[in-house]
């Protein structure tokens, strides 16, 4: 009855997402995506109404990508939040463009930082409970302080103003947790 589809929505989104990962969000244009996917711009506008829709899809794929990356770190580490913090900072270092897109860019579909951090597994809640179990009187405040600190380190590493090794970073996070929690 009709010609068979040869360029799928997956191919287009995969290509566009990879461009975002490697060169940043602003490099994703219709013509460049088409060139990299080996087709014309027409298939893009068949599966997406316009470029805004594609950009939105890239953001949502970025959220999924972050979660997959981030949830690998669940249960690791000793001090509460230090595992999540390491995941977050590692992500910022290895995926600068995605980190910018997810955590430093205003966006129509933008999710709150807490929603992103808690993830599908409720990892923040888990860590808060862990802190409470360790005798912390105000674990939510502790989370807030810890995350401001962690977010600061992540953002600093974007501009090259924070370049501790992973081991040093983990040590810093655990010491900071103890500082905030009033331990010795």
């Amino acid at each position: 009855m009709a010609r068979k589809e040869s360029i799928t929505i997956q191919m287009i989104l995969d290509t566009a997402f990879e461009m975002t990962r490697e060169d940043g969000f602003h490099t994703v244009t219709a013509r460049k995506v088409a060139a990299k996917a080996g087709c014309s711009t027409q298939p893009i506008f068949r599966v997406y109404k316009n470029m805004d829709e594609l950009w939105n899809a890239i953001y949502l794929r970025g959220v999924d990508y972050f979660h997959e990356y981030y949830e690998q770190f669940a249960g690791q580490g000793t001090a509460p939040f230090s595992n999540l913090g390491m995941a977050y900072i590692s992500f910022a270092r290895q995926e600068k463009h995605l980190f910018r897109l997810l955590f430093l860019t205003e966006n129509a579909a933008k999710k709150s930082m807490y929603e992103l951090l808690n993830g599908k597994k409720g990892m923040v809640v888990t860590e808060i409970n862990k802190a409470a179990a360790m005798g912390c009187t105000n674990p939510s405040l502790l989370f807030m302080k810890m995350w401001i600190f962690i977010h600061g380190a992540a953002c600093m590493s974007l501009s090259g103003d924070f370049d501790l090794s992973d081991a040093e970073t983990l040590d810093l996070l655990e010491r900071s947790y103890n500082d905030f929690a009033g331990r010795v």
Copy 2:
């Protein structure tokens, strides 16, 4: 002998800088600057070789602007670094576009964060000395921890994930200083 200059480099840079302040760096194009300055694009390319030079000049003007803003806070506050932190966070809140340009954007002429923070008056050194005089054993480490925290709060306020009042923010900074310094 020749026609008198009517559009100065100051007028152009003032206009372009104001556009950056209000609408962000990416809105500064030759034609838009010309329109806002009430002239053609030609005077821009008389005083600047190309747009890169103008953008560079905007960055440097931004550095000066930050210093003027920031140095007003010198000597205020009680806990070390809290005055500088309040200045930094206030700047991020009130001058989002400039903050992004100065502290979150890669740049040919980019200065290190420490250079920007220390300023012309050596304010960071002053605060570190203050901490040392208060009996802190490792004031440089304390500064690092404090500034990661402060930078985190500033960056979070960009995305609307940090919205404490000034009084609450100051309180948070002073408490954090005590946490890091091991005080009660």
